[in-house]
């Protein structure tokens, strides 16, 4: 596996750079156009979730490890702040429209794009890991 590791501030200003780095890595290793179109957004949504919910927009640091080869890409986030809690709520777009509530879409995007999605807490740090296998 090829690896890229970065430590970035937990700031919305870094969503763009993380998105484009992920896009470039997918482009470099795969011709899976769907993965190229949607996977960078999933990575960005996880990072936005960390900034908003774990760090409550007060800043901090996020370590990001990209692992990629011709078969798959895996991105792992390691960070402090509040413990990750993911609600197990079934997504219902019609209900959200009726309630005029657009919250919770980010996690749904992540769930739909990931082949594997894991998260947890170890050694005083939270972690998220998302994996997407490339289709030919």
């Amino acid at each position: 596996m090829n690896k890229v590791k970065l430590k970035v501030p937990a700031s919305y200003e870094f969503l763009g750079p993380v998105f484009y780095l992920t896009e470039k890595l997918v482009e470099l290793f795969s011709s899976d156009e769907r993965a190229l179109a949607i996977f960078p957004l999933a990575v960005q949504e996880i990072m936005a979730n960390i900034i908003e919910h774990s760090y409550e927009e007060k800043g901090g640091e996020i370590s990001i490890l990209w692992e990629i080869n011709r078969d798959l890409i895996r991105v792992e986030f390691s960070f402090g702040g509040k413990r990750v809690k993911i609600p197990e709520v079934e997504f219902d777009l019609e209900r959200k429209i009726k309630e005029r509530k657009g919250r919770g879409l980010g996690l749904e995007i992540v769930r739909k794009i990931a082949d594997e999605l894991e998260y947890g807490y170890r050694g005083g740090k939270n972690w998220w890991r998302i994996t997407r296998r490339f289709r030919s």
Binding site: Y12, E13, L15, G16, F19, E33, R34, A37, I38, P40, L41, Q44, E45, A48, I51, E52, F91, L93, E94, K96, I97, K98, R100, K101, G102, R103, L105, G106, E108, I109, K112, I113
Partner: protein, 116 residues
């Protein structure tokens, strides 16, 4: 970064976001949408031709306002030709609930035909 251009023609608002809609820029997009709704302009074409991507923050804005737009007799239709943006809309089921068009002319005809 994001720039949102607004044009009004034949009673229809063309919202043209250029760049990306994410948590950093979503307020600019929402402000422009709300301004038009508040001023009674509820026939809206969202032209995504220069939109690099839209994150959940932007999709949430569309969800939050569509009922109000339709209650006021309008609609927000989406003109989307770029594959990435369309795939994100499709992933969450927006293509079942919002009307999508491949070009501005087709989107505009919907409102013009409804007026006549």
């Amino acid at each position: 970064m994001l720039e949102v251009k607004t044009e009004i023609s034949q009673g229809v608002v063309f919202l043209r976001p250029r760049g990306r809609i994410d948590p950093l820029t979503v307020d600019d997009f929402e402000r422009e949408l709300e301004r038009n709704i508040k001023e009674g302009r509820v026939k809206i074409i969202l032209d995504c031709s220069e939109l690099e991507y839209i994150s959940s923050a932007g999709l949430g804005v569309l969800i939050g306002h569509i009922e109000e737009i339709r209650e006021k007799g309008g609609d927000l239709v989406i003109c989307c030709t770029t594959s990435r943006v369309y795939q994100i809309f499709d992933l969450l089921g927006f293509t079942r609930i919002y009307r999508f068009f491949p070009d501005i002319g087709a989107a505009l005809r919907v409102f013009v035909d409804e007026q006549s």
